[in-house]
Symmetry: C2
Subunit: 423 residues, 2 copies
């Protein structure tokens, strides 16, 4: 058995409303899993190697439940449009560049490097339609030691000719080629089926992807109810569906027995929410993106109260930054404006809930991930917050909240995935 002990000021969620802290505590990891947190180190662990981060905050690694790797290159640019126009003007031209592996090498290298130096330990990632570039991305993430799902995108209509896979047959064949080529190739990178969203996939492509999903037993990710024009479009494209989620359901691509992430869910109807709950669909809440593209704000506190599975996401490049700390503060801020401007029946997100979303909430997509409770996989981030000077002492809970608003990559001292130190 391999065992590691790390020491510092520990903070983690026990549930969506319970944030636990232990100052000067010991986190014991056995074979990549949390054995326990202790105020004083039990003597049975006294001989195990100890990494001392006294004075630093130690929190679970965070999960970015929805991020577009090829869009990282234009993060912080072109924030002047809504979704559909934005896709055509900025996103599709950028994504087409990834047929060029030299470009992909530069751009994905930068993405993987930033993700490594962030608080993210797990992520579910969109690549592009290009198989070779997708495999290059998967390799880079694996080399970085991160634990991710990566999807080669499927897209065969309503996008520029230069980016479309055109025939359904070709899209499915390329997807199977990709799945076979990567089999057993990576340690921590896994594939996820990734139809971009219904408007960019023909019906027969969606049905074909559902068959591939069954054959290869892999999860699914896509986009849902992000923008009003998009939702109207779905009504035209899928006239027999009761709602956008029901359209995915009819194609067999909406969870219900297998893991599934739907990004955004800003404008989900009650029926759609009920189906997500029933099917165990994960909501990837992307607050900054939903502000930048003027999409709106999802009622996340209600989703949580109703038992939906929700995680947090950067959605780069709808979001401008890979930092999940920023996603936490954006989630709180957006929820406050939603409460003030739209609907006082849905409470703003507390810091506790936003922190939970970034750790346990999204981590659940990966199993027992995102907490320091016993049995969880040991993903941890060590933040040295000494540079965030304060004229007097603060408790651990206060330092954690402050770090969410003020810390950046400079504060990250160490990072662990599955018990292994990767930074």
């Amino acid at each position: 058995m391999s065992r590691t002990v790390i020491k510092g000021d520990l903070c983690w969620s026990r549930g969506m409303d319970e944030l636990n802290t232990v100052q000067n505590g010991y986190l014991v990891c056995e074979d990549g899993k949390i054995a326990g947190v202790f105020d004083r180190l039990p003597s049975r662990f006294a001989q195990d190697p100890l990494q001392d981060f006294s004075g630093c905050l130690i929190m679970p690694g965070m999960t970015d439940l929805h991020v577009h790797a090829p869009q990282f290159a234009f993060r912080g640019l072109g924030m002047d449009m809504e979704l559909l126009e934005w896709l055509n003007t900025y996103t599709f031209p950028e994504e087409s560049k990834y047929r060029d592996l030299a470009y992909a090498e530069r751009a994905y290298g930068s993405f993987a490097d930033h993700l490594l130096h962030s608080v993210t330990t797990r992520a579910s990632i969109f690549a592009t339609v290009h198989v070779e570039a997708t495999e290059l991305l998967m390799q880079k993430l694996d080399d970085a030691g991160l634990c991710t799902f990566v999807g080669k995108v499927n897209m065969n209509r309503n996008c520029p000719q230069y980016l479309s896979e055109n025939s359904t047959n070709r899209s499915l064949k390329e997807t199977e080629r990709w799945l076979r080529e990567i089999e057993g190739r990576y340690r921590r990178t896994k594939p996820i089926l990734t139809p971009r969203f219904i408007p960019s996939c023909t019906d027969d492509l969606m049905y074909g992807l559902a068959r591939l999903r069954e054959k290869y037993e892999i999860p699914v990710q896509s986009h849902l109810s992000e923008n009003y024009s998009e939702i109207e479009w779905i009504k035209e494209l899928c006239p027999r569906s009761r709602h956008y989620g029901d359209a995915y359901q009819q194609f067999g691509l909406f969870g219900d027995g297998y893991p599934c992430i739907m990004a955004h869910c800003v404008h989900s109807t009650e029926a759609e929410q009920e189906l997500m709950l029933k099917n165990g669909v994960f909501v990837a809440h992307s607050p900054e993106s939903n502000m930048n593209l003027a999409s709106g704000v999802a009622p996340i506190s209600r989703y949580l109260d109703n038992g939906l599975k929700v995680g947090l996401a950067s959605d780069v490049a709808g979001g401008s930054h890979e930092s999940m700390l920023k996603a936490i503060t954006h989630a709180i801020q957006a929820s406050k404006l939603r409460w003030r401007l739209l609907d006082q029946n849905v409470k703003p997100l507390s810091f506790e809930r936003a922190f939970y979303l970034a750790t346990m909430g999204g981590g659940a997509f990966f199993g027992k991930v995102g907490s320091f409770e016993p049995g969880y996989e040991m993903d941890a981030v060590v933040l040295d917050d000494a540079s965030l000077d304060h004229p007097q002492e603060l408790d651990v809970r206060a330092r954690l909240e402050r770090a969410a608003y003020l810390a950046d990559d400079r504060n990250i001292t160490a990072k662990f995935v599955c018990g292994e130190r990767i930074l």
Copy 2:
């Protein structure tokens, strides 16, 4: 005549909808003022000292039109309440610590240091009720070379006994003592009268401050229409006023012939907006604070279209960060949610307008400040954005937008105030 030339990629506003850029240009400064921007350096300046920032962005220094120096110590903390409860729970206990000069020394030292290392060159600042600590703050800002207005706060009711100035007489006397003590003491730090807001000042204190304002001919800053409960309170406290702004007007503290800043103006009625326009009152728009305290979002595009004077503000510690770059992105994001959730008659802020607010908009409170047009005072910030890697070339406008979302203090290479390099 003293002359300086700086070289780099120049970006500045010419008006609220016009952003100008010159790649590899020359900015010529004569006696602290902009002489001109040139594609090629005219031969008459060839002998003048040149500072070469080739490859860096050079933009006007930014103005933070509303920030609470004593609250800097608890930035990023206690973001779980609305305004009035937040003041009582977090703000007043913190501000009371500034009677202790040793505490003020530590906390204001940190504040001044962060401001120096930010993109801010000008600011209008609230201190506390304490004269000695306020003077200490003024000295530190002056030593840093920044150009600021600083106000000793007036407050004699509706606040804890330990912080109240209690008698009107004492509050006025302390204010006059402060004004006399600092006369001629600083190079770039000036006093500004600072009644906290109407609820914390008795009527006779407000009338007394109006008399001091005339006697000393100094500007005024306060808070206006930030929060619904606050506005209701004003109706009780000033039953004869037509609106919150009218209450200041009746006290003689609402501009109209002298410079005046009102922070927030989130819920200003049309009549209040008209009076602000007529009196030339500056709106200090504080988007992050207005999100964090769930106050709402001011209709800034409408204010600009109607000709109101508007600048941007961090409002630390309602806002979590001193960075005016962050204030720019928060302003855009908040305006998009306002548009989406509340009122599609008020356009979201464009990047051009948000950048204008942070430079020319607020700079106008200090005179001809915040642009590189000829005759403007030469405040400039040099940002080295090379670390914000991109797989291909970007134009200057794109780099500027990206820097607003991604740059931080690490990117700041140099900073000038009134033509003098202070960093």
